[in-house]
């Protein structure tokens, strides 16, 4: 549970350092090279082929970039005058990730499938849904948010915004932009990253940064009292004013239809659908999570959640789900659990996903995955995980 901040606090001044220890699902991507060799045997090693890549799995698109790199190391694309077409798809079922290759050469076609085990589900519920977490990044300085795409990763920390590039199996810091806050950061610092194509936005208490992170990180920051953009699942969006000296939103929001509303201050927002109607959930400072209709009129409460939550649309679960933290005191090991909201009641969908320490940030990563940051009291590090909800035990 996030306690509200009651006053100014000292700025985080120390320059901390990044640590190795990265691991991701890409470590388990063994298949692309093998498929490339089979392709070469079928088409001929120097055959020209046009190659397409798709990702229909819950893995981040960065994994597809790894697939592409590994595949084209053994079978480079030659688009001009291509005699064959290749379509590589990253997919998944209940127990495995799959790399599926379709090759078409004239009238001939082949399908090859390589599979590898999905990470052990963190826990199984009585209803067959499971939550999974994949470690993405670990560092000493708090991670406020993290964006992952193709071969790149942006990490927002209190002191800086850093662009990493993947080289082989490791991430290397490519560029870093120091953050100079207009006033000392508040205690329990929060921040949010948004990436749309090459454009990036970073929302921080009393400050906003805009720029690009294509080949090069170019960001300008300025003092701002403007709203943060809060997304939920694939469709819902809310603009919310952040209290710059606190760790919560002050309750002033703009809904998707452009109308302005004022709710009680809240830590986090998530949206969902129940029988076709949109609802919003706001985790309030009194420990209650309010349920609101599309006009932000209160219709119910949930009293068992912590202060952080996100809304997602997990493909296999259907509809919308909410991932919420537990009611820890901010120092003890936390957990994230998935819920559906039906008839204003929160129904657990899976057993809680445990973390070794408190969850310090929880934001949407994609429409169907969340980015969770947990601190490890023993090592003092912060670790970012992609959290997904999957069907089956």
């Amino acid at each position: 549970m996030m306690p509200p901040v009651n006053g100014f606090c000292a700025a985080l001044a120390a320059i901390l350092f990044l640590l190795p220890g990265f691991s991701s699902a890409a470590e388990d991507l063994p298949a692309a090279g093998e498929l490339a060799r089979r392709t070469a045997a079928f088409l001929g090693a120097r055959a020209a082929a046009k190659i397409r890549y798709s990702n229909v799995s819950s893995l981040a698109d960065a994994e597809l970039t790894s697939v592409r790199r590994e595949f084209e190391a053994s079978f480079p694309e030659a688009g001009e005058g291509a005699l064959a077409e290749i379509h590589l798809t990253l997919s998944e079922n209940q127990s495995q990730y799959l790399l599926i290759e379709e090759v078409h050469k004239g009238e001939e076609s082949r399908v090859w499938i390589a599979g590898w085990k999905r990470p052990e589900a963190a826990a199984a519920s009585g209803f067959g849904l499971t939550m999974e977490k994949i470690l993405v990044w670990e560092q000493q300085e708090p991670i406020l948010d993290l964006a992952l795409w193709e071969n790149s990763m942006l990490v927002l920390a209190p002191s800086r915004l850093t662009l990493y590039e993947r080289q082989g199996d490791a991430w290397h810091a490519r560029q870093s932009v120091p953050l100079a806050p207009p006033r000392p950061w508040p205690r329990d610092m929060r921040g949010r990253l948004r990436r749309t194509g090459d454009r990036v936005q970073a929302f921080l208490p009393g400050m906003e940064c805009h720029g690009t992170a294509g080949g090069k990180l170019s960001v300008e920051c300025q003092a701002s009292g403007g709203p943060w953009v809060l997304e939920s699942g694939s469709r819902a969006i809310l603009l919310a004013d952040f209290a710059p000296e606190r760790n919560y939103f002050d309750g002033r929001v703009v809904l998707q239809d452009g109308s302005r509303r004022t709710a009680a201050p809240f830590y986090a927002a998530a949206a969902g659908e129940d029988a076709g109607g949109t609802f919003w959930l706001l985790s309030q400072l009194d420990g209650q999570t309010g349920i609101f209709n599309a006009n932000l009129e209160p219709v119910g409460t949930v009293s068992t959640w912590g202060s952080d939550m996100v809304g997602i649309n997990a493909p296999c679960a259907g509809g919308s789900q909410v991932l919420a933290t537990g009611r820890g005191d901010g120092n003890e090991p936390d957990a994230i659990q998935a819920f559906s909201i039906v008839n204003r009641t929160a129904n657990p969908l899976a057993a809680p996903l445990a973390f070794g320490g408190p969850v310090t940030a929880l934001w949407p990563a994609t429409a169907s995955t969340a980015l969770a940051v947990a601190s490890d009291p023993a090592s003092g590090k912060y670790a970012a995980y992609l959290v997904t909800l999957a069907c089956g035990h």
Binding site: Q94, I100, R344
Partner: protein, 309 residues
């Protein structure tokens, strides 16, 4: 708790396998059975994991979907099946429980249709996308394979595209009487889908006459439940349901795909859609969801408002 279903199970005893009532056996005991009409289950005090919260479950069978929805609205039922039309009309705030896409809707040819061109032509003629979006209100997923994507991971490899021109090319050489097929559907809920298939078939040069419950029909529109999330078990179960050769029980994802493709190669079975089970839940029901992703009933942890022990 009062439950309504549209199926009329006419057996002299409660079903021992299949979805729904069979799942109740772990925590409830049957106390009254009227085949095709109703069943009453009572809580089993010695059930593993403890006595269910509910004292009993009354099940009304053979209830049309429309009447089920009305009974739910009027408070005469606590849990009912919802079809696409009823789901669209469901009152705002209504609780809905959905399984994963575990009902396979497929066309199955009888042995009398020996010409593979005819079977393939019907497969190519069906506009699954229109059925999915218009008749089923986008419930579930369009299916080209037997297994849904969430179970196999490779369902997108099976083509679902309609190609009336190619279908016409296949049946063009056949004489008119050979292009006539009878189509049977056992569940009245699928009449609109059967009629749509007949219209699609006509565009492809086939003459399909759809009629309910015709055991001698050339092709049947059937719904089969997928009972396992394990791909090989699910495939074996479907193959058995359709009378197809049993696939091997283990192997790589590539072997699974090859086995599934072999089962479909001669177009004896044409997968159309994978659909979820969808239930409307009354306001008295607490706890849940009471169904699993595979559509199994899990009523032992439910209770009714004001009746929690």
């Amino acid at each position: 708790m009062r439950v309504e279903i549209r199926e009329a199970i006419e057996t002299p005893d409660p079903p021992q396998k299949g979805p729904g009532m069979t799942d109740l056996g772990a925590a409830f005991s049957i106390t009254r059975w009227e085949g095709g009409r109703s069943a009453v289950y009572s809580a089993d005090g010695n059930a593993p994991g403890g006595r269910p919260f509910l004292d009993g479950i009354e099940i009304q069978m053979a209830r049309p979907l429309r009447e089920q929805a009305i009974d739910l609205e009027l408070g005469k039922a606590d849990l009912v099946e919802l079809g696409p039309n009823e789901l669209r009309r469901a009152a705002g705030g209504r609780r809905i429980w959905r399984s994963a896409a575990v009902r396979l809707l497929a066309l199955v040819f009888g042995p009398q249709v020996g010409d593979a061109r005819l079977r393939e032509a019907l497969a190519l003629s069906v506009d699954r996308a229109a059925i999915h979006s218009v008749l089923l209100q986008r419930q579930g997923e369009i299916a080209g394979g037997l297994l849904p994507q969430w179970i196999s991971g490779d369902a997108f490899l099976f083509s679902t595209a309609a190609d009336a021109a190619r279908a016409r090319g296949l049946v063009g050489p056949l004489r008119a009487p050979m292009r006539a097929l009878t189509l049977s559907f056992e569940d009245p809920a699928w009449r609109a889908v059967a009629d749509r298939i007949a219209v699609n078939a006509r565009d492809a040069g086939l003459m399909v006459a759809a009629a309910p419950a015709n055991p001698a029909a050339d092709v049947r529109l059937v719904e089969v439940r997928i009972a396992s999330a394990e791909p090989w078990q699910a495939l074996a179960g479907l193959a058995a349901s359709f009378g197809l050769a049993e696939p091997p029980q283990s192997g790589s994802p590539e072997a699974l795909f090859a086995a599934e493709r072999r089962l479909l190669a001669d177009f004896h079975v044409i997968p159309l859609l994978h659909l979820p089970y969808v239930y409307g839940v009354g306001p008295r029901v607490r706890g849940g969801p009471g169904i699993t992703p595979l559509g199994e009933w899990r009523f032992e942890t439910l209770w009714l408002e004001g009746a929690r022990p």
